[in-house]
Amino acid sequence: MGDKQEKKEKKKDKLPRQVMPEQKADVRRHNFDEVPLGFTEQLAMQEASRCLQCKKPACVDGCPVEIDIPGFIKYIQEGDFTRAIRHIWQKNSLPAICGRVCPQEDQCEGLCILGKKGEPVAIGHLERFAADHERHYGTGQLPPQAKATGKRVAVVGSGPSGLTVAGDLIQKGHEVTVFEVFHKGGGVLVYGIPEFRLPKEIVAQELNFLERLGVKIQCNEVIGKTTSLDELFEEGYDAIYLGVGAGLPRFLNIPGENLVGIYSANEYLTRANLMKAYRFPEYDTPLVKGRDVAVFGAGNVAMDSARTAMRMGADNVRIIYRRSRDEMPARQAEIHHAEEEGIQFYLLTAPTKFIGNEQGRVTGMECLQMELGEPDDSGRRRPVPVKGSEFELDCDLAVIAVGAGANPLLTQSTPELQLNKWGYVIADEKSGKTTKKRVWAGGDIVTGAATVILAAGAGRIASNSIHDYLSVGW
């Protein structure tokens, strides 16, 4: 018995991490189709067999929504894909999305015991597989729902955090309406993350799943303008969750920034993704097509913008970043994909001004070379300009992706909500409760711009607290 066990473990060690097939770089840089193509059943079962089924799984500690990872992987290994997805649903309503866009290397996979000596189990790929399999071949059977409580919850914002709250609370028997300012639900999942990284069909299906559970999604409603929070209470809602996102673009504040052809990443990506400008003129929304493109910043949003510009037909796409490669905030996988697609990296480079023509269109920019100095407040080494290092670059399209701030539209209309000095909503870390009674908040409007799964995690904390309130009291 002991021998047999040992043999089995050895065999597991030998099986390498299964690689998900993906579109070749020289092909995909010309289309908007999804880059990774997904596991086959066989690849998924093989990958699942690498999981050691730890008694105390570290991976779960790394998951902001505490999915029972070894649990669902075991079902995949056994070929019971329906049970696998149902197991995930207990903790996560958005597995097809999280499986694609979570930074697993910093979370579950970062803590996987196999990663200490070799490659961690491809948990994200397996989560994606389970969700995709259900979407393609599933029975469409819904998870069990608690008896109706008669309580009503308003969720403001239909991004990952709001949808998590909606999914949790509808399953607990509460009535849920999600309010979305845009004409389509999904928040950053539809306006921000490009089609080639997260197909909109998948977001639509996850929304449809919530709607089949009974969640109402009310688009075109600006909470704070069309309807105030107090009016929602007057309409009979018992609790409100604010998951409105950060939603205020940051600019560089350098001369020439209002020239035509210079976009915030929010605008550039919203036009491309939500408004489908990449399919102009079939879709009516236009978007400047650049030949020489500069993208400022080095986070995931910058990579998304650069890769979108490449697909729109640019000759040169340059990421301009004032720090060095080590400080780039984007996921390794995104940087890797961008490099493969021919995106150039101008590191330790800072723009000083934009240059335009008579029509007011951007034609170029001036940059400075930087070097790294002493660490700053963020603990990262501060970039310092190198004297006399100015140089010019051609640029007919610029996208500014240097982060976002707190959009004041809703918070200004609700004075009882206390804000921190940056304008973000103050919410209790353990419950998501704000300073206004019966109002919770989570995601980027509390933390500042972060990730999909952290927003979902905040939603989970708040939904537990909202459920407690609806069952017991504030």
Partner: protein, 275 residues
């Protein structure tokens, strides 16, 4: 869907009025605020300032000139049909105060935007002089409504086919010379607003303008509508659409409004071929 309950053509069919059923927006809207409309699934989001609203009937009205694909598409919508998406009310409402003599200058479809502001200025106890203009008599809109909304309506046409022969700025100059004007509100094409503010600066009279920047979300999220006001970048959608006209960089605004001229042309030509 947001149903069009009334559709009327004005100015020889180049300008269209839509009364749209949108009770939640009608209940909240104030003079100077706008909505964003999208006609179809593949459509563009277009901001239009509301011409009038009625909270009792739940109606909002927009008046627009057919200038490109999106407005041409809007103009194909019949009564009983509707917009897929209407969102609002957006932007800041205009500050309406009792100041004394107020001059409201409207050009082109800007007259439609000016109408509720004129009415509110009169209701607030101001003496309101309205000046409206168009290229010719046939293109003039809302003359009767503006007459009712103001104390004194002065009409001009560029070709002299009706009213004063000349630009609204000519009549504005006469008015500024003759009256103790406390505030001028100028709404219309960018060149008109530019020249109105240029003139009122000479007379040192405070002037408000309403800007029609290109927008996407209309909630301060994208920065598409940014304008330079007093050397600072502001968002027309949330900081405006009204601004102190003496501080606005109209030349920059004008260039930003032409950001997509070529693509708009392409889109419009394609649409005309298809219909």
């Amino acid at each position: 869907m947001f149903e069009i309950v009334k559709r009327k053509e004005m100015a020889q069919g180049t300008v269209v009025l839509n009364e749209i059923k949108a009770p939640k927006i009608a209940a909240k809207a104030k003079p100077g605020q706008f909505v964003i409309l999208k006609a179809t699934e593949t459509g563009e989001r277009i901001p239009l300032t509301m011409a009038y609203t009625n909270p009792e009937t739940g109606i909002i009205a927009t008046i627009y000139q057919v200038v490109g694909k999106s407005t041409a598409l809007f103009s194909t919508l019949k009564e009983g049909e509707g917009y897929q998406d209407v969102i609002g009310p957006l932007g800041k409402a205009m500050d309406i105060e009792k100041l004394g003599t107020v001059v409201c200058v409207g050009g082109g479809t800007g007259v439609a935007v000016m109408h509720p502001i004129t009415k509110a200025m009169k209701e607030a106890g101001n003496h309101v002089i309205a000046i409206i203009g168009a290229r010719n008599k046939d293109l003039l809109i809302l003359e009767e409504e503006m007459k009712a909304a103001s104390h004194d309506l002065r009409v001009c046409t560029d070709d002299g086919s009706y009213g004063h022969h000349g630009f609204v700025t000519d009549v504005l100059k006469q008015t500024l010379e003759a009256e103790d004007v406390k505030l001028v509100v100028g709404i219309g094409p960018v060149p008109m607003m530019k020249f109105v503010t240029k003139m009122t600066r000479e007379y040192n009279v405070k002037t408000l303008v309403s800007l029609n920047s290109i927008m996407v979300d209309g909630t301060g999220m994208c920065g598409c509508c940014r304008v330079s006001v007093g050397g600072e970048t502001r968002f027309a959608c949330v900081d405006g659409p009204e601004f102190d006209g003496h501080l606005v960089d109209f030349d920059e605004l004008s260039k930003r409004l032409q950001a997509y001229t070529d693509m708009e042309q392409e889109s419009y030509e394609k649409f005309k071929c298809e219909t």
